[in-house]
Symmetry: C2
Subunit: 440 residues, 2 copies
């Protein structure tokens, strides 16, 4: 396999064979293909795309680059959820509790926040003691005993994805649908899940601003799942204003516990129920979405979901005082407020700017290696379509003493649009793409 | 300047500014931009192209990456020739002698052979003692005293081009017209030439198979020369069968001396006269091409061109016995012959295959660092359109004792097409693009 020849052929629009893709991924992961040749190939792929067959070969090659988990000895359907990332997206936390309480096994391998989106691992690490790096034995034991476990990616799980992602990040080749699809699914399938629900976020607070590329990604994800013999379903959800009120790390754990208690913001609760219903259908524990929704709602009202979540946190070494209003977590004590400038309807919110305001506060990061402050955050108090009076609190900024919040408040103020007429209430779930049963 | 952002913008089809291009070339040459980011940018440029303004900025940035020579203190017009490379293309050797004998000053910075094309430096190094690396003082002195000097590129002349070319070579981004144009002209202009004639080869033995991309390259070269205040003219010449009979290194020096003696193959002589005429017009020493051709022909018949060439070789330390039939050079002693298989017309020749047959023999190289054997070579004895009888010698292979020539003969045999009707005699000069005077 001559890498230059492969680059040349892809540049000309030819399809690479399964064997060629397997070799290029294996050789790259082993350091036998230099970064500069892979960078050229990635850019050629950005322009020419990959066929379904090439994408499937890429998925298989990436999975084969590392260790794969076989979870078949653990009883129950192993079903996961993945979100393409948004602002205030703490869904994984309550969802893991709900889905496991309903009988699913949820082996969740999560990531960290970057840029305007938060990361599940960062949120969990705001819980004192919570270990996101877990040996395989502890992972299996927690999955079997508690039903859910949320961990960081271990070094030997799809190492090719880590290398490829780092290179894509610095060569402007992240936004490429076949590369995104293979990256998402390789980590899920290598971790042993039988099915995964993908929450593809669309809007100003998401990586995809429009529904059209989101549909292309979703179609490929479903096809690749089908091809690989795993179950994939997709929800397209709106990401403009933050999901829920809380944007940050500790503050999102607190809101997650509120949702698990059966309270919390309605949009978070709704999305947890919708995603849990999809997961239950994928796992064969509900015949349809309505049945799945009811089961999920019962897990919330009975307290089973909260109990399961608390047991999961404890299994990971986390100390969470769920009976306490702030769960015993430290929240930054200074509260600065953004007020409505006039009597008006909230017409729209630029979610990206809100995510970046959290980065400005120190609660998110611009570079992968940066540290974050789990105690700072935002409370987003109004919803699009809501009528405010001049002076009403739109958002609260939780900051450290001495921290200058004026720039953050200014950024937040510039991220909202006000109008004199009530806008149409936006839908949360924009569309869905159900699991397509493999014709086995 | 953030390289990722520049890659992103070029990927989306935006134009980069002069300042951005200057910074990216300078930073890359200084090692501040890693190869993988430059590789991604080069591939994005392959797909999106560069505007005239971007190409001009690239040319300027590349020239600025190293030392530039100012030859204005040397009397006479400093005019050079550059060929895009072909099989049997020894033109630079006799042409340097002819042009200098006519009063031009020819400061020629040449390269080595790679793949199917030979390199002028390799040919000159088959002359014992010829030094292709020369200090600037010796370069100037030879140019002033003899009128022509052919040297290798010094490390400090357009270092960015060397780095960029090495990267393009392994990332399949060589075949990109704006990158080719900037690479060619930067070396010529940095070496202080006032004008250059470009011999763009078209056909199976050339990098460009068709006239259309050759025209695009030529138009850009003329524009960039205009923009930079230097004179550029272009000849498009056919490259299917080898130029002349000799294909190799020492053997091409021998043929060059024959041409300088006023003999030699007609196509080599014709092209030398045509290119010399263009150079004389560019340098202002001839008012039109016909006058230029006559002056060049006189330089051949008078012996002045041969004498100039011999003095140049001597100035470089080379020992060439021009009175001897093989100029005192070692030629491989075993001669294997390819015979015509039947009574027929030679219809066509795949020049690429002939160039690669020389590589197989050891007279060319596949990798830049490979060594070559200057004594092996080919004599191509028939011209397209010529009628042969079965058994007539088509080509002779000059090999070392013990070398197996059967595969080479087989390759040569497969590279020729025979027919029963006389094909139209192919033109050598396909078209030309004259110098466009700058509106100063």
């Amino acid at each position: 396999m001559n890498p230059r020849e492969l680059i040349e052929r892809k540049k000309r629009g030819a399809a690479l064979t399964e064997g060629e893709i397997a070799a290029v991924v294996a050789d790259f992961a082993a350091g036998r293909i230099p970064d500069y040749q892979m960078a050229a190939l990635l850019m050629a792929i950005w322009f020419r795309g990959l066929s379904r067959a090439e994408s499937a070969a890429l998925l298989r090659a990436m999975i084969a680059s590392g260790r794969t988990l076989d979870l078949r000895d653990i009883p129950g359907p192993k079903i996961d959820k993945h979100s393409t990332g948004g602002v205030g997206d703490k869904i994984s936390l309550p969802l893991a509790g709900v889905a496991a309480a309903c009988g699913l096994r949820v082996p969740m391998v999560s990531g960290r926040g970057l840029g305007h989106t938060g990361g599940t691992l960062d949120k969990l690490e705001s819980i004192p003691g919570y270990r996101t790096q877990f040996g395989e034995a502890a992972f299996r034991d927690t999955l079997r005993r508690v039903g859910a476990t949320i961990v960081g990616q271990s070094d030997d799980l799809v190492p090719a994805d880590r290398e490829l992602y780092a290179l894509r990040d610095v060569t402007a080749t992240v936004d490429c649908i076949p590369l995104i699809a293979a990256s998402i699914l390789s980590k899920k399938f290598a971790a042993g899940v039988e099915g995964v629900v993908l929450d593809i976020k669309v809007g100003s607070g998401a990586f995809m601003r429009d529904l059209e590329p989101a549909r292309a990604l979703a179609a490929l994800l479903v096809d690749l799942g089908h091809e690989y013999g795993r179950r994939v379903a997709v929800l397209f959800t709106r990401m403009e204003e933050p999901l829920g009120e809380a944007v940050g790390n500790a503050i999102e754990v607190v809101e997650s516990v509120a949702v698990l208690r059966g309270a919390g913001p309605p949009d978070v609760r709704t999305l947890v129920l919708e995603l849990a219903a999809e997961m239950l259908v994928l796992g064969g524990l509900a015949g349809d979405l309505a049945t799945g929704r009811s089961a999920a709602a019962r897990a919330l009202s009975s307290g089973a979901a909260l109990e399961t979540f608390a047991r999961m946190v404890a299994a990971h070494g986390g100390r969470l005082a769920i009976e306490h209003p702030s769960c015993g977590l430290e929240l930054a004590p200074v509260v600065a407020r953004l007020a409505a400038p006039r009597d008006a309807f909230l017409e729209g919110v630029d979610g990206w700017e809100i995510g970046m305001a959290l980065v400005d506060l120190g609660g998110g990061r611009q570079r992968k290696e940066a540290a974050i402050d789990p105690a700072v955050g935002l409370r987003w108090r109004v919803r699009v379509g809501q009528r405010c009076q001049a002076g009403d609190v739109v958002a609260e900024v939780l900051a450290r003493p001495g921290q200058d919040t004026s720039a953050v408040l200014h950024r937040l103020g510039a991220a909202v649009a006000w109008g004199d007429e009530a806008p149409a209430p936006p839908a949360l779930v924009l569309d869905r793409l159900p699991f397509r049963a493999a014709a086995v």
